[in-house]
Structure formats: C-alpha cells, structure tokens
Amino acid sequence: MKQSSKERAIIILTVIPSIAGVAVFVYGFIGWTVVVSLSNWNGILPDYSFAGIRNFVEVFKNVRFIIDIFNNAFFSILFIGICVGAGLVLAIIVDQSVKGRDFFRNAFLFPMVISPVVTAVAWKWIFSPKTGINALINIFLLKIGVDHTVEFGWIISTIKLGPFNLALIPLTIAACWAFVGYIMAMYLAAIRGIPAELIESARVDGASERMIYWKIILPLLKPITLGAIIILGHISLRMFDLFFVMSGRGPGFITDFPSIFMYEATFRANRYGQGAAISLIMLAMVAVVIVPYLKISLRKGVAD
C-alpha cells in the first residue's frame, strides 16, 4: 500500500506498543536472563556481580542435569516419532472415511483443548501402581484364577535400559495422546489441499490407490512432516506442566527434565543463576530447531 510519510509515521507509532512489548518481554528478558546466568545470584536477594560461566559449568557438572538431558532426548525422539508416524497413518485413514471425516478429525483432536494438568491427572491414575493398568491386569488375573498380582511401578518404576528410564514410557504415551490429533489435523489439511485433478489424472493413467499414496500424496506431504517435527521438537524441549503434575522429578530423577529442574532450582531453591543457565540451555536447544525454520519462512514470505 502506498503511503505518505506522515501516514507512515502514524502507522509505525500504532504498532510500537506491541513491538516494544515483544522487544522487552522477549528479547530484553532473554538478555536479562543471560546477565542473571552470568552472575553470582544464587540466593534470595539479587546479586548481579559477575561470575563468568560458573553457573553453566556447575549445571553441566550436576548429575541431575545430565540425567535430564538424556530423559529429554529419549522423550523427544519417541514423542516426535510416534506423533508423526501415528498422525500420518490416522490422517490417511480418516481421509478415507469420507462421511465421517470431520467427526473423526474432531474426535482425535479434542485433547488439544484439554489442559495438560487434566491430561496428567487422568494418565497418572492409569499409570499408578495401585490403580489403572495394574488394577485391570490384577482383576483379570483373579478372574482366570491366577494367584499373582502385578505391582509394576510405571511412573515410579526405577528400571532402566542403559540410560533409558522405563518411567518415561507413561509420560510419552500421555504426551502423544495429547498431540497426535494435532499432527493428524496438519496432515489432513495438507491432503485435502492436494488438487483433485492430480489424483484423478493418475487414476486415469492406471495408478493403483497404493501407488497414488506412495508416489503422489506422501512426497507432497514432506514439508508438513518437516513442520510437524519442528513444532513437536520445540514443544518437547519446553514441556513442563504435564511432567510436573503427572510425575514430578521422580525417585532418582527418573522422570526429571530440564524444565522441572529449572523451576525447582529457581523458584524453590532460589538458585537464580543456575536456573537462568538451565533456561538458556533450553532456549539454545529450541533455537537450533526454530531459527532455521523462521529464516525459511521469512525468505518465502519475501518471495511471495
């Protein structure tokens, strides 16, 4: 839109509050957190004296943080893999149920409006040793006359496979339950966006349904898969509420994550410098995923 310089000045003035808000609350605060992470502030009262990278060194030396990094890595891989795989399969199947499409899409999507706190309460019952799955199995065993009760710990099970804590499985299931519908909806929107003529002409050329999926639809969905991995990646790196309410850090940090460690270090133990350091490591991990994505989006936006 063409605009005079006076108009332009007015326009810029009106968006300044929002830009300033984001500049201060996002970029300014991140800068401030950097200052805190480099300070000696590890008590109740602020102390901004310079400590160098000591907080970061201490965080990385802490066994708890190493466990957290492993837990988060395992969780992220499982969470992303399952959500993308199951989301794609669900989308393809739901897309074929022509009449029930909208109903099934919405039915699988509703966990997105359910608070992670609620998700945590429900799945905590399912995966607690005395209720849920164990109870179901034990009732079944009793019915068929087997004199044995299962007492597997699930979210408090301290069994490990190498560095992988089995207690992460219930958390992963709960998180996938919450997000798989979202990924399905992304794929479904993309599948519906594929021009019908493209599929029709392939059909005319004698392609089977399976060929149409493998050769036409799936390749066209690649950008969605990339987008889904990025979205799920940043969600999994900053997730807090579900973990915190469902299991907390767990015995021996089996279900601990950097987000929980950050909260406890900062707001329970008043170790602000360390909390800031952990949060910046989290930010760095998210930025690795997000910044290239935003750069591509920006370039595309300019090209439009």
Binding site: M1, Q96, S97, A107, V113, W123, A189, V245, S297
Partner: protein
C-alpha cells in the same frame, strides 16, 4: 465395500481406546470413595453420586471464577491487539515490516522458562506481581505473536483493492480498519479468540509463577495442588479435572472449526 467397513471398524476401535482417559475421568468422578479403590475401579459406578463433585466444587469454585476473570479480558485484549498488528503488517507494510514480523514470531516458540526470572522482577517492580492484572498482562504480551500471525494471514487474503477503494472514499488508516477490516474480520476474531481462550484457560506455568495466593490462582494451579496432595481422593481430583475441562470443551464443541484454523495457523506458515 468391505474396505469401507474395515476402515470404520478400525477408526471406531481406535477412538474407543482414545477415549479411555475421558472414561476414567468420568466414571471415577461419580464414584463414592469406597468404590474407587475396589476391584471395580474400571467398571461403571454401581451407585453414581456427586460426592466428588461437591468436594471439588467446594475446593475449586473460587479458582474456577478466577480462570474466567483471567481468560475473558486477556482473550479480548489479545484479539484486538492482534487484529491491529496483523492489519498493519499485512496491508500497510513499512520498510522492515517483514523482519519485524519474523522477530515477533520467534516469541511464539521460546521456552518461557528463559523469561520467567525477569518477568517476576518486572511485575514485582510495577506492583503487579501476584495479581490478576499481572497475569493478564503476561498473557496479552506473550499472545501478541500468535494473534498477529492469525490476523496477518487472514488480512493477506483480503484484496488490496478494497483498501484502495476505502482510501479513495477518504478513509485513512484508522477509517479503513474500522469501516472495512473490522467488518470482514469476524472469522479471524473467532479463530484468535477461541485459540487464545483455550491456551490461556489451560496455561499452567505462567499462573504458577505469577500468582502465589490461592485467592488469585486460576483453576489449573489449584487442581495441580489437589493432585499433588495425598489426602485428596481420586474422585475429587477427577471431578475437579472435569470442572476445569468443561469450558474449553464447550468452546471446542461449538466453535471447533475456528480452533482448528488457529492451530494450523500456528504450525503451517500461511
């Protein structure tokens, strides 16, 4: 035909599995204390009662109200702010507008942990820490990226000629917004409002950090406290969880298509 039946059978089976957590919430919430720890804990209640709901209501009604006091104003502010920003950044692009937009977008993805310490300091120094206005302000500011994105995408699809025409009729930037854009932006308002309503209502981290007193805390924090206490029965917890879920679920049932568009706006770059 057989394939069709197979697909529906498969989908319905999956759906039943998918609804297990809701089934659990529902049946447990209407059971008596005795029945939730017995062998019948997976069964439908023999003698449904509202004991759990009465207890949950007693503990959470104030917090439920707080959630409304928080979510309604924060959603309205957020939507209007986004509608203006999106309008300017799509229709009155000034030099650097695209870069500013991208920089704003980054705010949508940051782990909020990385801004919590300064947030508490700043809210404290302006006297809003621990208060509802402080929490509203927090949600409005961190809601700017998503609402701006939703409206920018929406207005991008509006032909420039419409604005040219308004200009020829003598409308300036404000007039065009008021007489043209607001009138056609109802779907975008629905998308932004439904999306923000559900994310603010369900938020836990900001509420946990910014509000300390149970008198101010929204229901998410209060329910988490209930769930963390060993003295609270499962039926009370589950009934509380359902109380928390009802408002956003109603919004989803009646305005679901707008919510889905908001979700997709946040993921697929339009």
């Amino acid at each position: 035909m057989r394939k069709k039946i197979l697909i529906y059978f498969f989908l319905i089976t999956l759906l039943l599995l998918f609804f297990i957590p809701l089934y659990v919430l529902f049946i447990t919430s209407i059971k008596s204390t005795g029945e939730i720890t017995s062998r019948t804990m997976w069964n439908l209640p023999k003698d449904p009662n509202i004991e759990g709901f009465v207890k949950a209501w007693g503990k959470l009604k104030g917090n439920l109200l707080n959630s409304f006091y928080l979510t309604i104003p924060a959603t309205i502010f957020s939507a209007f702010l986004g509608s203006w920003n999106g309008y300017i950044l799509s229709k009155w692009k000034f030099p650097g507008a695209d870069i500013i937009f991208t920089l704003i977008m980054f705010g949508m993805f940051i782990p909020h942990q990385s801004i919590l310490i300064p947030l508490v300091q700043v809210l404290n120094s302006i006297g809003l820490y621990g208060s509802m206005p402080g929490l509203i302000l927090t949600h409005v500011v961190y809601g700017i990226p998503i609402t701006t994105l939703i409206f920018r995408n929406y207005y991008s699809g509006v032909p420039d000629e419409l604005i040219e025409a308004a200009k020829i009729d003598g409308a300036n930037v404000f007039g065009t917004y008021y007489y043209v854009m607001l009138k056609i932006a109802l779907p975008a308002f629905a998308v932004a409002s439904v999306y923000q309503f559900s994310s603010i209502w369900n938020d836990f981290l900001f509420a946990l950090i910014v509000t300390q007193s149970p008198r101010v805390q929204p229901i998410t924090v209060a329910l988490a406290n209930l769930a963390g206490s060993y003295y609270v029965e499962w039926n009370t917890q589950m009934a509380g969880a359902l109380l928390l879920t009802i408002p956003p679920l109603l919004v989803f049932i009646f305005l679901g298509r707008f919510f889905i568009r908001g979700l997709l706006a946040g993921s697929v770059k339009g």
